[in-house]
């Protein structure tokens, strides 16, 4: 870990003003906001992140979960994952979010990790996390060692020839299915970003992971009003029973009317370079009978563009089964 300056800004304006001087908000940022630190401090120890300055935002007023006027939910940036998962409104109206969070990490990590921090969780690609290895995400232009190396855990959707790193978040998969909105404050204005627009595909700039610019502070996330009568399931598949990132996961929100699907949201985790919402699968299912055959075809549609690497081809079938089983559990449960 390198030496760094630790600051605790008095207020949001001071935090944003200081952060605005950063050269980038992406990989290699010289100024970083510090919330739970469960990703950032870890990466600083590995020297994958080497910020000169940390701005501790834990005492800024972003730790509340509140109802919004339109019947939705406002989740502060520093709300701990544990608190969010165990919130009564979340458990009642957005249970897929609670399920997703509780399937990730450990109780200790969830007690520290925050909403905004989880949005910005970095990949677990072993080559990204080892500074002795080439990695286009960590050090643009050095190459991708994962494509020729150990890539069993890595992505099959949204990859490029420059990067196949998986987004590891469980929370984000649920938020994608819930169509969350991310609220970002900057020095001059504030803006709202649809969840699906927040994370970027790697393309030929894998070091750019989100649309954030220097001085952008995620203040909160809002969820739209709950879809009444919806069934929600998060299903996570992995090698061991606990404390492991997903090989494939699915968040589904579905409602059935008159024997057909009239609303469905499907997002995937563990397989995409970003939290992966499948518009194809959703579009296919609308108006279809909620049965195994339809679900299977929806899953085929979701994985249509999947690209296998040397070790992770099995994820294509695994993700399909994950989708089918999550949907079946939702409609029968």
């Amino acid at each position: 870990m390198r030496m760094f300056e630790f600051q605790r800004p008095e207020n949001t304006t001071a935090a944003i003003t200081t952060a605005s001087k950063a050269k980038t908000a992406q990989q290699g940022a010289d100024v970083r906001f510090l919330a739970g630190g469960t990703t950032l401090i870890d990466l600083m120890k590995l020297e994958v992140e080497t910020p000169e300055r940390l701005l501790d935002i834990n005492r800024l007023p972003f730790d509340k979960i509140e109802a919004t006027p339109n019947g939705g939910l406002k989740i502060g940036a520093t709300v701990r994952n544990s608190d969010l998962a165990h919130d009564q409104k979340v458990q009642r109206d957005y249970s897929v979010l609670s399920q997703a969070i509780l399937s990730g990490a450990s109780a200790q990590l969830r007690n520290m990790a925050t909403t905004a921090g989880n949005l910005l969780q970095r990949t677990r690609c072993m080559y990204f996390r080892d500074t002795a290895m080439p990695c286009n995400k960590r050090q643009p232009g050095t190459g991708c060692a994962a494509i020729t190396g150990a890539n069993r855990m890595l992505a099959i959707l949204g990859t490029s020839e420059h990067c196949i790193a998986t987004n590891p978040s469980d929370m984000c998969v649920a938020m994608a299915a819930l169509e969350a909105t991310i609220h970002v404050q900057s020095a001059k204005s504030s803006r709202e970003i649809a969840f699906s627009d927040f994370h970027l595909l790697p393309g030929n700039t894998p070091h750019r992971e989100t649309v954030l610019e220097p001085g952008n502070l995620v203040t909160h996330v809002t969820l739209p009003p709950p879809k009444s009568g919806s069934k929600q399931v998060y299903l996570k598949l992995r090698d061991r029973a606990s404390y492991e990132f997903a090989l494939a996961s699915t968040a589904v929100v579905i409602t059935i009317a008159n024997g057909t699907v009239n609303y469905v949201r499907i997002a995937l985790g563990g397989v995409g370079t970003k939290p992966w919402r499948s518009a194809e699968a959703e579009a296919f299912l609308i108006g279809k009978a909620p049965d195994h055959a339809s679900f299977r075809r929806a899953a085929e549609a979701a994985l249509h563009g999947a690209k296998a690497q040397s070790e992770n081809g099995f994820k294509i079938e695994l993700a399909k089964r994950c989708i089918v089983h999550a949907l079946e559990t939702a409609v029968t449960g």
């Binding site: 072993m126 020729t148 598949l237 061991r240 606990s242």
Partner: protein, 752 residues
């Protein structure tokens, strides 16, 4: 008088006994190696090579040396003389990586130490280590997974000495196989596994100008002292090794690694105590691993299932320089009755660090292969795998031609079957269901060697009614503190809390390594002999102390029971507590010493000494999401007298959980391009966690094996891991129909 000492109400042997050091551990009082602080202590961080094959062309340490707080950056040019070490009689010179650190410029594996930063804080040392710049001539490393045996001679040198590659042979195995009516020929693969104890390796070295003291997380302080004395050219009495507590080792800490001599050399060079603690990542580089194995098993049998031939030809990977031997055929020659048998091994060099013993070395991967083959034979012949084993039960060890000291394999199998409910098994693939889950049931037998290393111990009887037992062995978390206390309490006739245990210090009477499951059986005779010697001294005091009721008697006429000296003619009721005998004589204590003779690899042995047992495993399978979990295991262990049944069950349960990891999760991956062990963290090297632990039922047969020692206690640290992977993979086959012959079983194997 005679009130200072109360005898224990029950024997301390063979019961559930809570660890005497448990409270010290959970309250943080116990000091592990990296907890020791010394004035002026410096911190060392090694620099590892970032190539796996090549040569260092330059090493730039200038920037690192100038960093604040940095005292030295050591490398080949300034480390000072470090000698090699060699095998010596007993356990005084065993070492898996003989090459002293920095001996040449050649890099043979990823992470090989090439420099060492020494600074006032850990952070400063880490910063300096990161600032060292190496340039290399790099060649493509060989980390090829498929193993072809190198062209080795018939006899090869291993870490323990020469070894014939034709390991065991009887009858005409090739001919018998060729003409057998039923044949089976499969190759089984086990992956590289990394030990990963919670406590990483650590050394704190103190050099006073002529003597070295090492605080080390070690499984063998006496051997480590011997190796370090050789490497630094010191008389053995000038080296002391201290290991009070070990956060587990799994064999990775049996023998010294190069970080230990690095720390010692650094302390010598900078003239201050130096602490070196390996990072988790470094645990994958230069401190051993269970080597990858590829084992071809051929069985010839009659249609009824009687074995006609067994050939076990295995290859394992090894490092470029070192000669760790992975003895996969250890159990093969004796496990079953078979007239024609051959066991051979070959080795394949790779650009990897030295291999090492890992819990159940050899036999654990070996029995995975041979027991899997037995299960496949049972399936092929539509026989019950338990019946197949009973049908081929040997009367003697056919490999050595010796009777077993104590073997109750059939009883193990029958008890395990009964406790598991094996008779309810239906043989069809996927034919068993429960709560919407498909069940798979599988089983396998297990074996592990038994015997003794040489050991010495001392026992003191003291005037306050306490006892002290001392032995330079270690407690690696398995319960040796408590075992020593139980033995001393038993001998001295005092309650457990009146026993002080001293271990983990090479200045104590030389004790065994904590390896081979041999520590417990090794210390029993030594402690008992030491106790007898102390009692002998006590009797001399009793007959020669003025005022003693025994004054002037012949010491041979005295007895000792329940902590009391008594005249045999008067009976124990008129005995005197040893504390009173000592107080009357104004003595603080009497001491006795004792030895256990070596009983391991003895060419004149009259018995084959092993432990046995079996596992029955249940898996649950959900094909719709390819989810496989181990739900239930019943294990029966025939390991002689169990000294501490609580710690004993814990050992077996822990081994079963590790077996779940071996069967389904654990493997170390080397990057095919640069040879780095790439999954070198606890997030990426997947071991079983609590949620993966099945319901585990452990049964001990508890037949004392008096050939091993007077209590009949064999060791139990490793046998629980033997065979379990074969039981689980057979259960996987039963549930899924997929026969996986390369561990671990992965989701992708089962998705088809």
């Amino acid at each position: 008088m005679a009130t200072t000492q109360n005898p224990p109400t029950v024997s301390p042997i063979g019961r559930d006994t809570v660890r005497i050091e448990g409270a010290r551990k959970v309250t943080g009082v116990a000091q592990y190696t990296s907890d020791f602080h010394f004035p002026g202590m410096l911190y060392a961080v090694p620099v590892g090579a970032t190539i796996a094959n090549g040569r260092i062309t330059s090493l730039d340490t200038a920037a690192a040396e100038k960093m604040p707080g940095v005292h030295a950056v050591l490398h080949r040019g300034n480390i000072g003389k470090i000698f090699r070490s060699t095998v010596q009689p007993g356990f005084e010179g065993i070492c898996e990586e003989r090459r002293p650190p920095f001996e040449d410029d050649v890099v043979r594996y990823y992470g090989q130490y090439i420099a060492l930063a020494v600074a006032e804080t850990f952070e400063a040392a880490k910063g300096a280590a990161d600032a060292v710049r190496a340039t290399y001539v790099t060649e493509k490393p060989n980390v090829e997974l498929h193993l072809e045996a190198d062209n080795d001679p018939d006899t090869v040198m291993t870490s323990f000495g020469p070894r014939e590659r034709l390991d065991s042979h009887r009858g005409d195995p090739d001919g018998a196989f060729a003409s057998a009516p039923v044949k089976l020929d499969y190759t089984y693969v086990t992956p590289t596994e990394t030990h990963n104890p919670l406590e990483t390796h650590a050394t704190t070295a103190i050099w006073d100008g002529q003597s070295l003291t090492l605080y080390e997380s070690a499984q063998g302080v006496v051997n480590l002292r011997g190796v370090i004395a050789q490497m630094f050219g010191l008389p053995i009495e000038n080296v002391r090794v201290i290991t009070k507590y070990v956060g587990s080792g799994f064999g990775g800490k049996l023998f010294p690694w190069t970080h230990c001599s690095l720390a010692a050399a650094a302390a010598r060079q900078v003239g201050a105590p130096v602490r070196l603690v390996l990072s988790r990542k470094m645990m994958f580089h230069a401190v051993g691993h269970r080597p990858r194995t590829q084992q071809r098993v051929r069985i010839g049998a009659t249609p009824q299932g009687k074995l006609l031939s067994l050939q076990h030809d295995y290859i394992y990977q090894r490092s470029m320089l070192e000669a760790h031997h992975e003895d996969c055929g250890e159990a093969t020659p004796f496990h079953y009755s078979v007239p024609n048998l051959r066991v051979t091994f070959g080795r394949a060099k790779r650009n990897i660090g030295a291999g090492a013993d890992m819990r159940g070395p050899g036999a654990v991967p070996g029995l995975y292969a041979t027991e899997s083959a037995m299960n496949e034979l049972a399936h092929q012949l539509k026989l019950d795998p338990v019946q197949l084993r009973i049908m081929n039960e040997p009367k003697i060890d056919e490999g050595k031609g010796l009777p077993f000291s104590s073997r109750h394999m059939i009883e193990s199998l029958q008890l395990g079957s009964e406790k598991f409910g094996w008779s309810k098994r239906t043989a069809g693939i996927g034919s068993m269901k429960r709560d919407g889950l498909t069940l798979g049931w599988g089983m396998a037998g297990c074996a592990w060697l038994a015997g003794r290393f040489a050991a010495a111990a001392s026992v003191q009887l003291r005037d306050d009614g306490t006892t002290r037992v001392a032995c330079a062995t270690q407690d690696i978390g398995t319960g040796t503190y408590t075992n020593l206390a139980q033995l001393a309490a038993f001998k001295a006739g005092v309650p457990l809390e009146k026993v002080e245990v001293a271990l983990g210090d090479s200045s104590l009477p030389p004790g065994p390594i904590s390896g081979g499951s041999l520590a417990t059986p090794s210390i029993v005779p030594a402690v008992f002999a030491a106790g007898d010697a102390a009692i002998g001294s006590l009797k001399m005091v009793a007959v020669s102390t003025p005022g003693s009721p025994f004054l002037g008697r012949n010491p041979d006429d005295l007895g000792f029971e329940n902590g009391r000296v008594f005249a045999k003619s008067d009976g124990v009721a008129k005995g005197v507590a040893f504390a009173d005998v000592l107080q009357r004589a104004n003595l603080r204590l009497v001491t006795g010493s004792g030895n256990s003779p070596m009983m391991f690899g003895d060419p004149d042995a009259k018995f084959s000494t092993h432990s046995f047992g079996c596992h029955f495993a249940e898996v649950t399978w959900q094909p719709e999401i390819a989810r496989l979990r181990v739900s239930r295991v019943v294990t029966v262990i025939d390991a002689g007298k169990i000294l501490n049944t609580l710690a004993g069950r814990n050992q077996i349960q822990g081994a079963v959980v590790m077996g779940v990891g071996m069967a389904l999760l654990e493997h170390t991956s080397y990057d095919p391009q640069n040879g780095a062990p790439i999954n070198s963290s606890m997030a990426d090297y997947i071991v079983a966690v609590n949620a993966d632990a099945p319901a585990i039922e452990v049964h001990f047969l508890d037949y004392p094996d008096k050939v091993v020692n007077e209590l009949g206690a064999r060791g139990i640290g490793e046998i629980g891991l033997a065979g379990i992977a074969a039981a689980i993979t057979d259960a996987v086959h039963h549930a899924t129909g997929v026969r996986v012959r390369e561990l671990p079983v992965k989701i992708e194997n089962l998705l088809a």
